[in-house]
Symmetry: D2
Subunit: 354 residues, 4 copies
């Protein structure tokens, strides 16, 4: 249940109302979020109390929401959420493309990739510096050196950096170098960590847990939103099923389903979603056709020598081909890619899909 307060409420009236609610012993959160004045009341509230509160003069609207993910729900916020990341719009009508290696391996490697992205007019680069590997004996990433290399390459080619943060203690360090912080599939329900990410002022790309139901994913987003960070991007990356033909099973249904439940942007990661290079492009196209707001893929100048996930990384030429095909499919559903904008000015005017 969300109660929207009237915008004309002054601070004194507001404080009075809050004191009144506290006096009633009702648990609630007060938030100004997405530019709206609002007041959250949780699931425990009784119907009689709702009726009573609705009758008060301070209330503009009472919105019934899912009990567990209030802020992530589109019952109270009808418009899609979009926001600016260093001049690029996420969650708008244009589909964002993020690409890069699984791991930052060297300055040379990441510069080569950054140059290729720039040549295609792309705006986002990804690359892991701290890698969550299933075995302790596999390459764990370059750490802070990796962060420095990717930042340097991004700055050289006008790119925004997306990279993973794997522990709450690393948030300050990663925030210094990244434009978007990625939370990996295995950390999606690491709630203490999510709360810390709710306190920073950078967007968070929240990968779906490979075992997470849609509602659990939205509740994980709610941890970040309710702690104060409005900029959450969901990212489907394949779920774990009985079928071991591929590494994971891409849940393409997640795109229209999330759109029917939430205002948050939802991206697709077909590289982890399939784990097999030749399946990446068809699944990227399927994601676009189904309504994904962005595509994140792994690319590598020499995939066979990659220190991690080489099997699923595209060759640079394959990636160029993916971009061309994705542009066609996007056009078929009346959208475009983010590297196709003639100018920024026009983009700002088309900031959100209606």
């Amino acid at each position: 249940m969300i109660l929207k307060l009237k915008p004309e409420l002054n601070t004194q009236q507001r404080d009075l109302f809050i004191s009144f609610l506290q006096g009633q012993g009702i648990d609630f959160l007060l938030r100004e979020i997405y530019g709206m004045h609002l007041c959250l009341i949780f699931s425990d509230i009784e119907n009689a109390q709702i009726v009573y509160l609705s009758s008060l003069p301070f209330i503009e609207e009472v919105v019934d929401t899912p009990k567990e993910y209030l802020l992530a729900s589109n019952t109270w916020k009808k418009s899609s959420t979009c926001f600016d990341v260093e001049g690029q719009i996420i969650g708008g009508k244009e589909i964002n493309i993020i690409a890069g290696p699984c791991s930052v391996e060297s300055e040379e490697q990441i510069f080569k990739i950054a140059e290729h992205l720039h040549s295609l007019g792309l705006k986002f680069i990804r690359g892991g510096a701290y890698k969550p590997r299933t075995s302790p004996y596999r390459f764990q990433g370059l750490g802070i050196d990796g962060l420095k290399y990717i930042r340097k390459a991004a700055d050289a080619y006008d790119l925004r950096v997306v990279t993973e943060v794997i522990d709450s203690s690393l948030i300050p360090e990663v925030s210094e170098y990244a434009d978007i912080l990625q939370v990996g599939s295995r950390n999606m329900q690491n709630y203490y960590f999510l709360k810390q990410l709710g306190k920073i002022n950078k967007p968070v790309l929240l990968k779906r847990g490979m075992y997470a139901r849609i509602d659990e994913w939205l509740m994980a987003a709610e941890y970040i939103l309710s702690a104060g960070n409005e900029k959450v991007i969901l990212c489907e990356r394949g779920i774990r099923t009985f079928d071991t033909s591929v590494r994971n099973t891409m849940d393409i249904t997640a795109f229209p389903l999330i759109k029917s439940l939430s205002h948050l942007p939802v991206f697709s990661d077909p590289s982890h979603g399939t784990g097999i290079r030749n399946l990446v492009t068809p699944l990227a196209l399927a994601s676009v056709a189904a309504g994904a707001d962005g595509i994140m893929v792994e690319i590598h100048p020499d995939p066979d020598k990659a220190l991690s996930d080489g099997m699923q990384s595209l060759y640079l030429e394959q990636f160029t081909d993916l971009i061309n095909k994705a542009r066609q499919v996007a056009a078929a559903i009346n959208r475009s890619l983010d590297n196709d904008s003639a100018n920024d000015k026009q983009k700002k005017q088309n900031i959100c899909v209606e």
Copy 2:
């Protein structure tokens, strides 16, 4: 392992060769399939024997195939399989559209739907007469009356009939009325039944078991192929996973994956795949983008009164919208829908995708 015999082999030479193989105690199947002369040798054959057989003058080619699905594999048959169903090509460059109600409920209902399909230029109607229902207390279908109604409606509107057969004892009856026999998800590993379907002269649309791995699905197809029926259509209809947000999880990866393993056409059933009406169109588009050769959807003039699966049936107008969007996405990947052909002559020339 498949041995292709030389086409110039005469009957006498062939019989001699067969006698020779039998004398060696080697188990094998002899088949003329897809217009090729061939001889199958099974997985038990030893390497030394392969070397020896390869050296014989009667052998054109020795092809290494997966052990369990030889005929379904594309290792020996490189070209996509396509065939004619009463004047319509399945498995060609054009994407086939099959639509109709979950169950045939009355003559009036199925005529109404047939008329709508005809008005859209479509060529295939589906509808269940024998229904496999989870509970014995739910509507089990009209049986033979249902078959008669759908045949009559199809004949009136130049449509081909796709309907399910649920037991080996019903194959003769259903074959009399249907143009394509559908095998349901729950019967995909009913092997005795599959063998019977291998002996008929009608195409079989083989739904994927909701629990079946890709290789198990291909082995089920192999039961039909190895019994002599060359006309098998695979149909993805959603798999069962932990996520209960939707009825099933559409495995969109199955389309490019099947294409990389097999020459058989593979269709998509987003109605069962999602179980929710509003998700059907996005998933149909995703299937097309990922490479599906056909789309099968449930439609109903009045879904809320449907005797089965109303929740996932499209309204007729929604279906028209789906067709329009699917045409756009098909064009984006350089394909078209089967109702868009200007004339049959041209179609015959483009019989298969290269």
Copy 3:
């Protein structure tokens, strides 16, 4: 909803009541089952009608049941179902042991096993004559010869035969040789087939589908029960999950869960449930501890040469050890094995667990 009619009702009164119900347009089944007079009314009935019917003088009791599995539910039949199979009680306090090879391979093989079972005082032998194999190129069973061999061996050693029937057309043949007909996991939702099995007068051992929820399994049993066959044995044999460490994941929870929902006996098949020989005994013991009413295991005099499922078959000595351990665990929960009865007379008196 189940309405139990008063036992003193005579035929005339009963016919009158039935005519009355039919006149009301209410769908129902009339059954004398498990020795009770009863009348089933299905889920569609309205509350007002229930109230009205309850008030009639012919009605002894109105029982609210699950809508989808009425007869399988323990809401109306509180006592556990047990029945006699050629002198042996199934579903009683004693735990039944069924053992034998995956496939009947020869007369000699099955006689050797039958002799071993007899030496341990056991009463049931299993063995497949018609085998549902994932690939068409694997051993498909000896067919009718296999049935003849196992019957002959069973008769020689006072054993009852459990064997699988894989198609409705084979029911008459298999019924001639078997004492209990087994339905395999892949046929659990082959409903047309289940209905045929409801019309025979032999017990049916219904394996759980590897993908079937508990309620779906009970609904499959309901198909058999509602068609008139009261003798259904459920058998857990492992479900399919993401974990490929073993062939299937034994769902041990199924035993107490089924006991809380149904009156039917429930057996355990740890051979298919694990697929690995060394795990069979621990899982058999766990099944007993959790409340299974019977254990079915695969054994073979020479597992490494078995034509099917050798990996999961116990050596004969391992099986003897399993029996000894299972006897200890059964005693710990106040039950015993069926080969331990001093005499039949006493057994008949303890026919069911309370």
Copy 4:
């Protein structure tokens, strides 16, 4: 691959050998673990190098291990691992019992439970102070107050404390109050966190991820072991499958399977494993029968008023009944419960199962 060095090696010789290996550019870890001198060589090593190293005079034994979990494997350490926790043996022949509430709710609540455990002769209490909850709007635990209450209650009744730590930043605080630190299912692949837990001197109870394969679970344990902490307890708590009849599916096969792969103790948590109170006891018994080394269950003096997981918490009397039954089943497989020891002296002599 593990190389065990000869115990008589002096420091100088050892340093020499290490320098030599480093000079060869071979990656390795050097560890004294479980009282043995050893040297780890990782998966990348080539066969020729192994042959060479094996020939050196410093090497006692070369053991081939799984590549990904070397230290957790029982290929090099044949004996079961057991260790002392404040006077109680974990991983020995006696089965440990850990019980307590899901959450510490108040000092009174936890004292009441502690008293009950003491009255049954039990030695371990569990209770959450920091709770990982799916929704941010559910009770998140009492935090440090919860830790203080459970420590106080444990000290009053001679109990050892098991409690969860949910973030690397909380390890010092939780270590101060707990005797065993629990890692929750959702954190099982939070690798950075696991590495921190490898540096402390307290045992870690590592719950299996609800989506984790057996090998992934062992690799998670390897993160802790390879960072230097030898005291790891594995704990099966149910995996996520398609079947939603219960909260999770207890994987009882995990007990004998882990025993066949690893030397680590493995416990069972049937409370989370089933999520339903009436299923807890049967599954606890099944776990014992299958070879679990310990049982951890949730109990509550008033489950219906519990702030979390009340549905799966046993009433205190139910728990007493579970203990009595578990004792019987343990005896059937020749083991006993840890509250049954006549005296500590005898226990120390029977420290490990052979």
